[in-house]
Each structure stands twice: as C-alpha cells, then as structure tokens.
Amino acid sequence: MCGEVCVVVEVLRGEVKDITYIMLAAGRQLAAGLKTKLTALLIGRDVQKLVAQLGAADRIVCVEHADLEEFNPDAYLQVLIAVFEQHAPRLVMFGHTATGTDLACGVAHRLRWPVATACWTFSLGNGTVQCSSLTCGGKLIANGPLPEPSCVVTVMPGGYKAKDGQVHKTPAVETVSAPGLDQVRTRFKQYLEPPAGDVDITKQRILVSVGRGIQNKDNLALAEKLAAALGGVVSGSRPVIDQAWLPTTRLVGKSGKQVKPKLYVAIGISGAPEHLEGVAEAELMLAINTDPKAPIFDVAQYGATCNALELMPLLTENLKR
C-alpha cells in the first residue's frame, strides 16, 4: 500500500455507502496520474461479501473482527493506525461524513500526517496532488497542495460521480488481522430508527423548504399555506430542525433526506453544501433569499432576492387564482 491511493470504504448496516464510490472514482483518476495502485480498505465483520462491489480498486485490504460489526470510533481508529503503521499510502481518503470525520484526524495525528478536509476535487499539478475544498458554507473555494509523502483527506460529494466508481469485478483481496481490541473505549450499543408516521418527504412531488430566513416559528404558517396551494408539504434545512420548528423527519440534506421532487421551493435557505447534497435530484428549483450571493442561486433555475415573508402570501394568492 506504500505510495498508493487508499480509499477507506464506508459501510453502514452492511451496505456500501455512495461516498465510497465517489472516493473510488476520484482515487481511480489520481492513481492513474500518480502511476500507482488504488487500494480499498474494508473494515467490518463478515464484509468480504462486499468486495465484488469494489471492483474500481486494484485490490482490497480487508480487516474483519466481531467487534467491528457496526461503526465504533475508537475500535476503527485502532485498526486504521495498525494498518497504516505497516504501510503508508500517498493518500488516505475518508468520506466527509459522520464516520470519516471521526477517524481522519486521529489517524493523521498519530502518524504525523497532514489532513485536508471537505475536498471535492483533486488534480495533479506542479508535481504534486492539489485539492479544492468547499468552505464557509460553500461561499469560498480553498486550494492547496497535499503534502508528501502521506496525507489524509476527507471527501465531499459533488466533484465525482458515484457511478464512475461502481465497477462489478472482484479484485484481489488481502486479509489483515485486526489488532487486539481489548483497550477500546467506545462501544456501539444500538441503532435508533427514524421516527415513523410522518409524511415521507422523499416521495413528495412538491416541497416548500424553509431555512433560517423564515426567522421564527410563527412564519411557518406562511410556508404551510404556500405548500397547500401548490399541493405539496413543508420541509426544512438544519437550523429550522435544530430549533424544533419542524420534526427531524422533514430535514433535507446530508444528515436528513435526499429528496427528488418535481418542484423544490427554497425559502430563506442559503444553500450550504450540506443542504445541497439533499436536493441534487430536484427537477425544478425556485429560491428566495435576500443574499444575492447565496450559493442556492447557483443550483436554482429561478430566484428572487425579495423578502420571502412578504412574497409567500402573495404567491399563495396568485396560485389560487
């Protein structure tokens, strides 16, 4: 694995997550440019059955242990450190996700490697690997060279297509035994399923989604009326859910639902990358935001910078005519 590009496979409840394929697509390009191999590091219990889905890699390094069945931050970290102490890749790629961000810094710190986070594209230039990261809520792009000889990165979706990393072929598998895991300080207890019973926003034809710009809970009624006039339902971005103005089942974005409505009306949503991850498949998007530089306008087809609280009742009225 020394000098190679290594993708740390993300598995949740026995399923390979899309971010893995996005990383494999990125890793494939980089490995070709660097004239090296692409390794996928697969950690879990009874995960060898997944290797046929990871054909984009040249080979798989597989670590299996009963205590690795579900994600366990401290146990996974100890496994990663043990593996990378033996072989130092040129690049280690984690998803910029709930699991990847638990691990990237711990690995980097222990092995004294640098880490670059929220990377969405990579390129080869000036004799080294350059990365571009989206930062400050998507309002800024930061570029920098990934230091040699080894570097850790966390990868965000957007720069590469998952389907380019989906190759059905079984690469060579090398099994590595897990280190002793008796000193692990975190323990997976159980999953808590999402609350059932509410409308499923992933199945809605029309969504009126509200963000911070809605200002207070009372203004939600305006969005409810607009949604009713359109024949849709109300969903929201993170700040609105955190305020408990809407239930978590209505959250659109990275930590919520990926929606694919015919119409997505974004009210007072700036369009941070975490939110945009959830709306990539909306057919038509209309955005209302007072900030003309809000990233949401880069993905919406139609936009307006007027006061959404004034607009919503008027739009509702016009739709009813």
């Binding site: 994600f71 961000t101 990237a104 930062t135």
Partner: protein, 256 residues
C-alpha cells in the same frame, strides 16, 4: 460532571467574503467574526448536563472577535469559569491542528470529565479541533453527537447518521465529543443577564507562546465559487415577483 467547552470564532457568512488580491487568501481585514454555531450547541449541551448532574462548565476561546462578549454570554447561560487564550497571530486565522495544540496547553490545569465542541466549524480546512484535541490528549472522540446521557460514570451518546438514523454509543470517559446539535435549541439570554455577568464574572487569561505544528496542510489560494449556471433572477416589486412566479409555475405544468 465537569465539562469543558471550546468556542471558535468563524467568519459571519451573512457578510460578503472577499479575496485579498496580494495573498490570494480570504481577506480578513474587515471580516466580521462570530462564534461557530455548532460550538453554541456544545455550550447548550454542557449547560443541560450541568443542570442534570451538577459539576462545573469551563469555556475556552481564543482571543479573536468579540470574545469577551461571547464568554460573558456563556456565563449568563450557566458557565462557571471562562478562559480567554491570548497570543500572537490569532486574527490571521489558525488551522485546527494549531488550535488543538494551543487548547491542550491551556487545559493543562483544568479538570474535566468531558470536552464538548462543535463537530466542525464552517471554516475548517485542515481537520477538526475536537478530533485533533482528543488525539492530542489520547482520549476517545465521537462526533455528530445530538444527545449526551450520563449514568453510573458512563456516558452514552446519540450519534447522527443520514436519513434520521441514530446510533447509541457508550463512551468510557474522559472523552471529547463533537456536537452536531444540542438536545434542544441553544437558550437565549437577555442582554441584562449578560451585563450582570460582566459585573460579577471574571475572564481568566491564559497566554500561549507560538506553537509549532509539523506537517500542516496549507492553503495556497482561495477563490469565490464561479458556477457555470445561475438562477434566472426575477426582479420587480414583491407583487410583481409573486405574479411572475405563479405564472411560471403554471406554464411549467407544475400545478396539479
């Protein structure tokens, strides 16, 4: 249960961000800074735990932005001890690794069972302060935490996955937790309570010398995103915009 909370100041994203032509990096000269939102959630979670289990909450922040106001506000919300870390070059924006190193030094005489901070900050580029600090202190780290429960010397956290799924993870303390959201929205305190805190509380200062960090990832250039596409903007008065949008949706056959 004694809890440490770390608050980082980040650019206020409501303001326009500009690139400094001479450095090619974010122009920090007129930058408005504000406490990172997830760090405010970390503070809320810490105060909730204190209310439930007793103990002390200590809040640390680097000397940037309106740090005094943020620390007095933390006192008004329930923090017992507030520490401002002073040093050179903080206004230039420090990397997460550097901040973690500084915090470890500042924590050398602070007792704690848990350290809470935001899972990430909006301007993180070289990793996350909480995760680095955990590694630096040799403690376990769990991020994307939305609930923390303590019983019998054990801590059980709720970790958030996409789609509304959560996992319960037990952590043997001490530990560092990256908070994604407090179990309820951060409390609001009225100005008079902050003024009261300014009179009664004292901000401790801790000076750090320059820290060196080996093998740091450094940004060489920044840019404002230039999207290939942009929304067609509807201009006019609000009634005109409403009329135009309604007509548009009808034309596109969206309405059932």
């Amino acid at each position: 249960m004694d809890i440490v909370v770390l608050i980082k100041f980040v650019p206020d994203l409501v303001e326009d961000l500009e690139i400094d032509a001479s450095t090619g990096l974010l122009d920090r000269s007129f930058l408005r800074l504000m406490p990172n939102e997830l760090d405010e959630h970390a503070l809320e979670q810490a105060v909730i735990l204190k209310e439930r289990h007793g103990g002390r909450v200590t809040v640390l922040a680097l000397d940037t932005g309106d740090v005094d106001e943020a620390l007095f506000t933390a006192v008004a919300k329930g923090a017992d001890r507030v520490i401002k870390i002073t040093g050179d070059g903080f206004d230039q924006g420090l990397g997460s690794r550097r901040i973690a190193t500084i915090l470890r030094r500042a924590l050398s005489d602070v007792r704690f069972d848990l350290i809470l901070t935001g899972t990430q900050a909006v301007d993180d580029l070289d990793g996350f302060v909480g995760a680095f600090l955990a590694a630096d202190l040799g403690l376990p780290y769990v991020g994307y935490v939305t609930q923390v429960a303590a019983a019998d010397g054990r801590v059980v956290v709720r970790k958030e996955y996409p789609g509304g799924l959560n996992a319960e993870i037990e952590v043997s303390g001490p530990a560092v937790l990256g908070i994604q959201a407090a179990e309820r929205a951060p409390r609001y305190v009225v100005t008079s309570k902050v003024m009261e805190a300014m009179k009664s509380a004292k901000i401790e200062e801790f000076a750090v010398d320059e820290v060196s960090v080996e093998n740091e990832f450094a940004i060489s250039s920044m840019a404002l995103p230039e999207s290939g596409t942009h929304a067609e903007m509807i201009e006019g008065t609000v009634p005109q915009i409403a009329q135009r949008l309604a007509a548009l949706l009808k034309e596109r056959g969206i309405l059932a």
